[in-house]
Symmetry: C2
Subunit: 179 residues, 2 copies
């Protein structure tokens, strides 16, 4: 990888992190954000929780609402990426069709990263305590427990975050974006 080969990043691209809750999506995207900012690139994060506070607070976790959430974030990401921003989206986004809709709207400026940490590791990490609440029956419709997750069939990159350090995961995305 040549350090100067950053045309894709300068033209703008949406980097879409998908994976189970607690798979590492947001942590990796934060590491990547730091690196992109240091490199002087325009970068914006559309994290699931932040977006739900501003753009989609009316939405719940039914399939319909999850898809609408993905489409709204995708709409905003497309606008930003079209203007030269590297947009880091980190959402569970469990349904393939909704992700592919967003991809189609991007006309090539879409880079899907599948963070493939397996369910049992995610459940151990349980960053937000959601898996524990699901086990206790306090949460239903949780992706990876009693709600489906459809992995991408052909993501631009798969990141097996459970087999790597955080630095290695960030590095792999960084390298793939430059290739």
């Amino acid at each position: 990888m040549a350090r100067s080969d950053r045309g894709r990043l300068e033209r703008g691209v949406t980097v879409w992190f998908t994976g189970l809750p607690s798979s590492g999506k947001t942590t990796i995207s934060q590491g990547l954000r730091h690196r992109l900012s240091v490199a002087g690139l325009a970068v914006e994060s559309l994290d699931g929780d932040v977006v739900r506070a501003h753009l989609t607070r009316d939405l719940g976790y039914s399939r319909e609402d999850r898809d609408e959430n993905v489409l709204r974030v995708g709409f905003v990401a497309e606008l930003l990426s079209r203007h030269g921003v590297v947009v880091l989206c980190s959402l569970v986004s469990p349904y393939r069709a909704a992700r592919d809709d967003v991809r189609a709207r991007h006309q090539g400026r879409f880079f899907e990263v599948y963070v493939s940490t397996p369910p049992e590791v995610c459940a151990q990490r349980d960053v937000k305590g959601l898996y524990a609440r699901a086990r206790a029956g306090q949460v239903t419709g949780m992706t990876g427990v009693d709600d489906p997750y459809e992995p991408p069939l052909a993501p631009e990159l798969e990141v097996p975050a459970h087999l790597q350090t955080l630095e290695e995961s960030v590095e792999s995305v960084w390298n793939a974006l430059h290739s």
Copy 2:
């Protein structure tokens, strides 16, 4: 106005057109968009109808829904303007408090244009046939008929579109943005 004095535009700004239905908001913003594009500036339009198709299709026309619509569009406009885009928002946006919320989030990059065409002229123009439908009792809750419109108290610019040609209206916004 110096032609080179376009720092505000190059840094990014949200130009927010507010006014009654059929006051001329969208037409003026389209004229301005053309002029900004020709000048080589990054520009994006967030028109009420387009946005409702993608970002806010769940929303109706109650006060609560109108405010939510304004806040979502404002959130997206702020993101884009922060990255150097001139964002042209054209929404009735009838409530002052919601507009001022959006203004506050912009930290200075907000330029409010009040298109002050009076109600009787708007009703004659009736671009979408809404006033006729309201008179026929087929539409209720229409701004300017049976729903309130709160004009800005201190907009960056007032455009009395009914007293000007379209070119004069566009020119006045263009000039004000450069001053």
